[in-house]
């Protein structure tokens, strides 16, 4: 099929009619973005494969924005050398198929029929529901690339039409319809039973359901069998228990009999025990008496011994004590002597100390006197300075000098006057006179009159501003008048300035500027001087004169008090009034040192004495404490002795003599001996007479108890178990029906499994043979793609097709490995699909040219590959109609024989 012309109206951006013609070979549609290139190309699919009555979203999106116009298009195409055109309008739907025959367009079909007829012509299918999709575009599914989707995804298989077109082409084995039907039925039956991938039985298949039921039933049966086993066990248990019960009952009887027999024996045993115990008590009693008495005797003797010991010890201690007391006396005497010595030393020391103090005080007083002198001098200086300052100040006051500011203003005015005057003078008339003879007269300048006299050949100048009248004696008068206003003004100004000047200088009583300046300077000097004096004063006094005076007073007071502290008889006091303070100070210092040395010596002596005294004291303490200890011990001993004596008295209270006691002891021991022997005999018989019978009786009783318990328990158990058995029997369900159903189901299962197995076999065989037949289809496609791939990339890759005749992987010649196509770079993948489309297109164009649409292919291809790819494109255009859409026409510019279609008007 070859597209001749496409006409669009109210179609997306094409609000105005838009038409383009297409060539048989290569067509390049170019234009900027959003110029409608893809819209144009997509219209082919829409027109051919959408129902004209469609109201899907896709169709609605054809309506130009903001309008409610009906999009419509007409595609003129040739099919097997017949010319057709199909017009479809959407929204207000229409469909018309016409054929060009006999020089004019004839109507072939309209409406739905037209939709169907066009499908019959060019292949593909109409969608049953919703939008058209690639699978329904017949060969277009593969040959017409959708923008942005160079790859046909794995999940999408090439449609039947494409496959059978290839089949037809290769003349390979084609499945006839009946076969297809047969196989599809078998495969459907297979898929009814199995899940396709894992070949598990489907959950809704009969065999699965039966298997489940078998499981359930078997579980039920197991449970019931379990119950049966339980029942059997229960029965066995009951039987066992009954047998046991039968055995135990006679046992109980026998035991009861035994018990009676044993009763009499028991009584005897009790008697024996009682007697034995009584005897035991007596033995105990006598034994303790014996012990008591023995103890008593022992204690008495002990006490007596102890008392003797204590008395001996005491004697020793008293002797010791006396010796110690003698030592103590000696020590006390020594101590006294030392104390006396110490006191003497201390006295002398104190005396020397006070002398030392006096010396220091004197020294201090001298020091203070020196200070006092200094300060008095300082004060004098300060007073002098103040006097000076006062004088200067007086001078300053009498000086009438202007301040800097005033001076400046005055100077200003002075200058101003001068300037104005100068200006005036300048303005003024300068009268220069050179006397040729002696002249005299009066000259009136402005308002001044001056008499003059000029000798011959002498000069004289005058300035006048306004008026000048010269009266020359014997000559006459000359009057000169100036009318300048400026002059008048300036004169006024000058007058004003003059007045001001007067005012300013009035206080100073002089007009002379130099004097004013002088005075100003004088003032400054005086002020500076005063400042200097003040600083000096400050320097002298630091805190002010008052303070200084205070300090002086203070010092005087202190000096007085110091001297008063020293007693009259002190030798240094004679220096009190000495003038040479420095010397005095030295003498004092010397004295102080002397005294200090003496003090130290005495201090040492004192220390030594103290040490020795301490030693003596320590010795004394030791002896004293020894004495105390001895006294304590003695005391203690005496206490003990008295305690012992008391206890001795107590023990002997009963009046017995030692002998008496001993006799009594002997008697007791005899009796004890007798009783013990008797007890012995009883004790020997315990086992036989007491224990055994008692044991036997106890055992018998236990036995009875046990048997009783056992029998009781057995009876209880039996009752319980019988009850349980009865309820089991009542509710018992037999497994007959279950087993019958199981038997039946298992047979059925077997049958179904064979059926499934047979279907699986058939399924696999059918699939296998189908695939094989398809494989033979892919070889020519593969061959062509690989040839072109070689042209494009060299022998780098060889492509493989899957059983759906789609590229799936490549073999890399350099690595010898198979690489899945999605692992290649996007550019290379794109190129492979591009070549695939062109190859398939060419193969299928043997009867009639096919159309290949490439919307912006090779977007990711670099320049060198692109060039080669386009060469292949050019060659392919000899056998195909190709429409390429691009926004970059420069890439394609060098192609000859291409029909360039611009989107612009």
């Amino acid at each position: 099929m070859i597209i001749k012309k496409i006409y669009l109206e109210n179609w997306k951006i094409f609000r105005n009619p838009f038409e383009r013609d297409f060539a048989e070979g290569l067509n390049i549609i170019y234009g900027p973005n959003e110029s409608g290139k893809t819209t144009l190309i997509d219209s082919i699919r829409t027109i051919f494969f959408s129902k004209h009555t469609s109201q899907s979203e896709k169709i609605k999106s054809l309506i130009p924005w903001g309008s409610s116009l009906s999009p419509g298009a007409t595609i003129t195409f040739s099919h097997h050398d017949e010319l057709y055109r199909i017009t479809k309008k959407f929204v207000s739907s229409r469909s018309l198929l016409e054929k060009f025959a006999g020089g004019s367009w004839e109507r072939v079909a309209e409406g739905d029929r037209a939709d169907n007829e066009i499908i019959k012509l060019i292949g593909g299918k109409l969608p049953s529901r919703g939008d058209t999709k690639p699978e329904l575009w017949g060969l277009g599914q593969t040959l017409w690339m959708v923008q942005g989707q160079p790859i046909i995804e794995k999940e999408q298989s090439l449609n039947e039409e494409t496959i059978s077109s290839i089949q037809k082409l290769i003349g390979s084995v084609v499945e006839i319809d009946i076969e297809k039907k047969l196989f599809n039925q078998i495969m459907a039956q297979f898929l009814d039973i199995y899940t396709e991938k894992r070949r598990d039985f489907r959950k809704d298949s009969r065999v699965f359901i039966i298997k489940e039921r078998i499981n359930t039933l078997e579980k039920e049966k197991n449970e019931l069998d379990q119950k049966k086993v339980e029942k059997e066990n229960l029965i066995r248990d009951i039987e066992d228990k009954e047998i046991l019960l039968q055995k135990k009952k006679p046992g109980l009887e026998a035991a009861l009999q035994e018990k009676d027999e044993l009763k009499s024996k028991i009584n005897l045993a009790h008697e024996h025990r009682l007697n034995r115990e009584k005897l035991n008590e007596e033995v105990k009693r006598i034994s303790s008496e014996y012990k008591y008495l023995t103890n008593q005797i022992g204690e008495i003797q002990n006490n007596e011994n102890h008392i003797k010991e204590i008395e001996l010890n005491n004697e020793k201690l008293i002797k010791e004590k006396m010796l110690s007391e003698e030592d103590l006396e000696k020590l006390l005497e020594e101590i006294q002597t030392f104390n006396q010595k110490l006191n003497d030393i201390t006295e002398i020391y104190e005396q020397k100390e006070s002398e030392h103090n006096y010396a220091i005080t004197a020294h201090t007083a001298i020091q203070e006197e020196i200070e006092l002198k200094e300060k008095e001098e300082q004060l004098k200086k300060v007073n002098d300075l103040e006097q000076e300052k006062m004088e200067h100040k007086k001078k300053l006051e009498s000086l009438k000098a202007p301040s800097q500011k005033d001076l400046n203003i005055i100077e200003d005015y002075y200058r101003k006057i001068y300037d104005t005057q100068t200006k005036l003078d300048a303005l003024g008339l300068k009268i220069k006179t050179i006397a040729q003879t002696n002249i005299s007269g009066t000259i009136h300048l402005d308002n001044k009159s001056v008499e003059f006299e000029i000798k011959k050949g002498k000069k004289k100048d005058w300035i006048s501003h306004e008026v000048a009248r010269i009266s020359i004696d014997k000559v006459g008068e000359i009057e000169i008048m100036s009318g300048s206003e400026d002059v008048k003004e300036m004169k006024k100004e000058l007058e004003e300035f003059g007045i001001e000047f007067e005012k300013l200088t009035a206080p100073y009583e002089t007009k002379v500027i130099d004097e004013l300046r002088d005075r100003f300077h004088q003032k400054n000097e005086l002020e500076n001087h005063i400042k200097r004096l003040e600083n000096e004063i400050k320097g002298q006094t630091k805190n002010g004169k008052e303070i200084l005076i205070g300090e002086i007073a203070e010092l005087k007071k202190r000096i007085e008090s110091d001297w008063s502290k020293i007693p009259e008889n002190f030798d240094l006091i004679k220096y009190a009034e000495n003038e040479d303070k420095i010397q005095v100070k030295e003498i004092c210092a010397k004295k102080i040192n002397e005294l200090e040395k003496e003090l130290e010596a005495y201090k040492d002596k004192e220390k030594n004495l103290k040490k020795e005294l301490d030693e003596l004291n320590n010795k004394k303490d030791t002896v004293q404490s020894k004495i105390r200890d001895l006294e304590k011990t003695l005391h203690g001993n005496n206490e003990r002795k008295s305690v012992l004596q008391n206890s001795l008295e107590n023990l002997q209270k009963d009046g017995f003599t030692l002998k008496g006691r001993e006799e009594k002891l002997y008697d007791i021991s005899i009796e004890l001996d007798r009783k013990e022997r008797a007890l012995q005999k009883y004790t020997e018989d315990i086992e036989e007479m007491e224990n055994q019978p008692e044991k036997a009786f106890a055992e018998c009783e236990n036995k009875i108890k046990r048997l009783d318990q056992d029998i009781h328990q057995l009876e209880k158990d039996l009752a319980e178990k019988n009850g349980k058995l009865n309820s089991m029997l009542v509710s018992f369900k037999d497994t007959n029906r279950i087993e019958e159903e199981l038997f039946f189901l298992k047979e059925e299962e077997k049958r179904l499994e064979v059926e499934a197995s047979a279907l699986e076999l058939l399924y696999d065989l059918i699939k296998y043979y189908r695939t094989k037949s398809v494989e033979s289809l892919s070889n020519p496609v593969k061959k062509m793609v690989n040839e072109d791939l070689k042209r494009l990339l060299g022998i780098k890759y060889a492509v493989h097709l899957d059983e759906g005749i789609k590229p799936i992987s490549v073999t890399s010649s350099s690595w010898g490995t198979v690489i899945p196509i999605e692992n290649l770079s996007f550019g290379t993948e794109e190129q492979i699909w591009y070549l695939f489309r062109l190859a398939l297109g060419r193969l299928l164009s043997h009867e009639e040219r096919q159309l290949v649409v490439l919307d912006d292919p090779l977007a990711n291809t670099d320049a060198s590959r692109l060039h080669r790819a386009l060469q292949i494109l050019e060659d392919a255009a000899n056998q195909l109609q190709i429409i390429v859409v691009t926004c970059d026409v420069d890439k394609y510019n060098w192609l000859s024989n291409a029909n360039y279609i611009t989107m612009e008007k």
Binding site: I178, I235, L729, D734, N736, E741, F744, E760, L762
Partner: protein
């Protein structure tokens, strides 16, 4: 004079695994037959009825069966019914006869003691040997010693130890017991086919009546009860066999090799007028083609519907498909043909099917090799192969229409 009905081995409530979903029906039939026995007894005025063991199939049957049985036995009134517990329904703790419901019947006696028992109103003493255990190697009849002049009838359940004939040593019974103990007649139960033993005096005094309804195939001589008449103590018993059962259990083996022969088989089966009472295992042996096989399958389906139980055993029946005919169903079907050939090739791998394969060994080898190379894990069983051919045939026939 004593006249009584001797029956045994009713096996009520028994499991009929093989009958699958029709088992319940078979059980129903047994109950109906029990009813028929009682009715017969009533009609023919017997003095008493003896059920010599295995009235119930086990002590584990559902207890509501007791109710049904009691109702049936009630119909025997006033004829006394003597029930001996057998090895299937012994008098163990869980015995079905322990149910208090039995006490509501005044004419039914569950024998629980191996002690002589007088029948009221007639000069008969019974010498019963109830079974109290599930197994024993003891001869439970050895206590019997007849004393007195009454008609003495023993009742026991077990296996007559006839050398060279019996191979079950459980519940042994001395074949000479009747004579040795002085019994006029020993009513036995346990064997399902009717069996009688002639004594030295030529009289039959020991007899198994057999089960009134077959319990499995091979019970050739069952479906009966026996009416016994004894004039007086010492007389020869007069026996009358009564047909009472309704079910038929058969196994048949037929060889077929052609379509006509199949038609014959069909006719034979159609000749059975009451297939609802028949349990038939039909084994067909031979080699047939796919059409015949298909026809057989249809016939089988029909029989399964009609018979109480019908099983067509095809283990010895093989398909030798007529490939030409088969392939001609889809004459242009190349792949179809290939698939058929592949199946024939697979058949060559199975010794049981080799000879029925239409492919030569070499051709088969090539095809199999190709399939193995394609790593198809195909390993079909012989049944699957034969079924595969049938599926192809059936669907192809349908599609070709």
């Amino acid at each position: 004079m004593a006249r009584f009905l001797h029956t045994a081995d009713w096996h009520l409530g028994m499991k009929y695994a093989k009958l699958g979903l029709n088992a319940e029906k078979a059980r129903e039939v047994r109950i109906q037959t029990a009813n028929a026995v009682i009715e017969y007894a009533q009609k023919h005025n017997v003095d008493f009825i003896i059920v010599a063991g295995d009235l119930f199939d086990s002590n584990d049957i559902e207890r509501d069966l007791i109710d049904t049985v009691i109702r049936i036995l009630q119909k025997a009134m006033p004829i006394p019914v003597y029930i001996l517990p057998g090895n299937h329904d012994p008098l163990t703790i869980d015995s079905i006869y322990a149910d208090p419901f039995w006490k509501t019947l005044s004419n039914t006696f569950i024998i629980d003691q191996p002690k002589p028992l007088s029948v009221p109103n007639i000069p008969v003493t019974l010498y019963p040997c109830p079974v109290t255990q599930k197994q024993t190697k003891k001869d439970l009849t050895d206590w019997i010693q007849v004393t007195g002049g009454q008609i003495s009838i023993g009742i026991a359940h077990g296996n007559l130890q006839i050398p060279g004939f019996t191979d079950d040593p459980n519940f042994p019974i001395d074949p000479d017991r009747a004579e040795q103990s002085g019994l006029d007649y020993l009513s036995l139960g346990e064997w399902h086919s009717l069996f009688s033993l002639k004594g030295k005096d030529g009289a039959i005094r020991t007899l198994y009546p057999g089960t009134p309804e077959p319990t499995k195939s091979g019970e050739n001589n069952c479906g009966r009860v026996v009416i016994v008449e004894i004039e007086e103590h010492g007389s020869k018993p007069i026996l009358q066999e009564v047909e009472i059962g309704t079910l038929k259990w058969e196994e048949r083996l037929i060889e077929i090799s052609s379509f006509d022969e199949i038609k014959c088989v069909e006719k034979e089966l159609k000749d059975i007028t009451d297939p609802e009472n028949w349990v038939l295992d039909l084994m067909l042996k031979g080699i047939i083609d796919q059409e015949a096989f298909n026809y057989l399958e249809a016939m089988e389906n029909q029989c399964v519907k009609n018979f109480l139980y019908f099983k067509l055993n095809k283990d010895k029946l093989h398909i030798n498909p007529d490939l030409t005919k088969l392939k001609n169903l889809i004459p242009d079907g190349v792949l179809f043909g290939k698939v058929i050939d592949a199946i024939e090739a697979f058949k060559k791998c199975h010794p049981s099917l080799q000879e029925f394969s239409n492919l030569s060994a070499e051709d088969a080898e090539i095809m199999l090799q190709e399939l193995t190379n394609a790593s198809l894990p195909l390993n079909p069983s012989p049944e699957a192969l034969e079924r595969a051919i049938m599926i192809l045939y059936q669907i192809a026939s349908e599609v070709a229409r």
